[in-house]
Amino acid sequence: MTGPIYPMGPDRKTGKRHHHAPVAIHGDRVASPFFGFRYPLTVAAIAAPLFVFYCYPYADNGVMAAGIHSYLSLYAKIVGTVLSALDPSVVVNGNDVAGHMFSVRIVQTCDAMEVNILLAAALAGFPMPPGRRLVTVLASVPSMTLINIIRLCVLYWVGAHAPSWFRRTHETLAPLLLVACALVIFLVATSRAKPESPKCRVGAT
């Protein structure tokens, strides 16, 4: 297809652009924030250093390793506090959350940091005004943390009451729901986003 499919530019009467309406067409592609390489590259440029910072194999006796351990201990304390409201036998010792029936250890991937990083990068790279971008990023991280704490509590409950389901829940259902929640947060956060400028809506194909 060579010609434009939906030739919608600025409104003829008001001169304003329609939100979420495509403004330019490249070949058979309708221009949108997702098209072209600009958006994926921006997201990758934001996410890559964060992944390197978090996943780098730091020395075991270094400052960073100690910092990550403290952070995971804090995470375990939060999870333990929530769980102790439901099960008084729960005790937190370092990264371990132990109860009479089950115990979990919070390790580096249990904090859903990879989902947090990708979600924050996807929102930070999305073409919208800087203020709104900041608000969505700052709101999405605690939301995902809250969802992850709920996930850990549910996993503890499943481990204690339905141990045969624990592995499947831990490895398949919980990550799937976590990613689905992140996707919903992304869609909701970007659903009312107004474009930063008309230029941002055109992908660099």
Binding site: I5, Y6, M8, D11, H18, H19, H20, A21, P22, D28, R29, V30, S32, F34, F35, P40, F51, V52, Y54, C55, Y56, P57, Q108, T109, A112, M113, E114, V115, L118, H170, E171, T172, A174, P175, L176, L178, V179, L183, L187, V188, T190, S191, R192, A193, K194
Partner: protein
């Protein structure tokens, strides 16, 4: 026009809901760990892995994938690293084929089928093959990482650091089994999806804008 209201969450809601339901049903079917599928899948992984990936193993070490002999572990493969100099076993690892190889493929398959991508002939075939091959690389990465940890215990080189980084960010997090196929599906089949969404919403927006 209602400001920044997104059509994907309003006018497209029934379509989106249908997509989610179909995806979950397909995913449950494709990802279910049937024993016979597991046996077939691990045979395929062992065959392809031993022929393509492990033939270039570091000397004096040789890597080899063998199906786990335990009857209840149909989805498991044992990765063996053999020291040819001493003619002894250097290390062996258990790899869950379901988690590493099959789950991302099932997610991608469910997304592709639920998204009802338009058949584009050769391009679609190429896209599907590229995606499936790319998703298997995650499993290969895991084995290479395990093998390198045996071969080069010092982990001094930059390549080792990059390998550890890739393993920690792409293989170890369980959610990456879902994130990677989602990104891949979006990159390969986004055109048809967004075009359909746009086609559905634009007449309505045009009518609103004209009052």
């Amino acid at each position: 026009m209602s400001g920044g209201r997104n059509v994907m969450l309003t006018a497209e809601r029934p379509k989106l809901l249908r997509f989610v339901v179909v995806f979950f049903l397909l995913f449950a079917l494709l990802a279910w760990p049937f024993a016979f599928v597991g046996r077939g899948y691990r045979s395929l992984i062992c065959g392809v892995g031993n022929r393509l990936v492990l033939s270039s193993a570091h000397t004096p070490y040789v890597g080899r994938l063998v199906p786990n002999p335990r009857a209840d572990l149909e989805w498991h493969v044992i990765a063996v690293v053999w020291n040819q100099t001493t003619n002894s076993l250097a290390a062996d690892f258990d790899i869950d084929v379901h988690q590493t190889f099959h789950l991302p493929t099932a997610v991608f398959g469910a997304l592709a089928l639920a998204g009802k991508f338009t058949w584009g002939g050769k391009r679609t075939v190429v896209n599907l093959l590229v995606a499936i091959a790319a998703l298997q690389l995650r499993g290969a990465l895991q084995f290479v990482h395990l093998e390198r940890s045996v071969v080069d215990a010092a982990h001094a080189g930059l390549s080792d650091v990059l390998l550890v980084l890739a393993n920690r960010s792409l293989v170890t997090p369980l959610s990456m089994a879902f994130v990677l196929p989602l990104i891949l599906w979006f990159c390969l089949f986004r055109t048809s999806l967004v075009q359909r969404t746009t086609a559905a919403r634009l007449p309505r927006q045009r009518a609103r804008s004209r009052g």
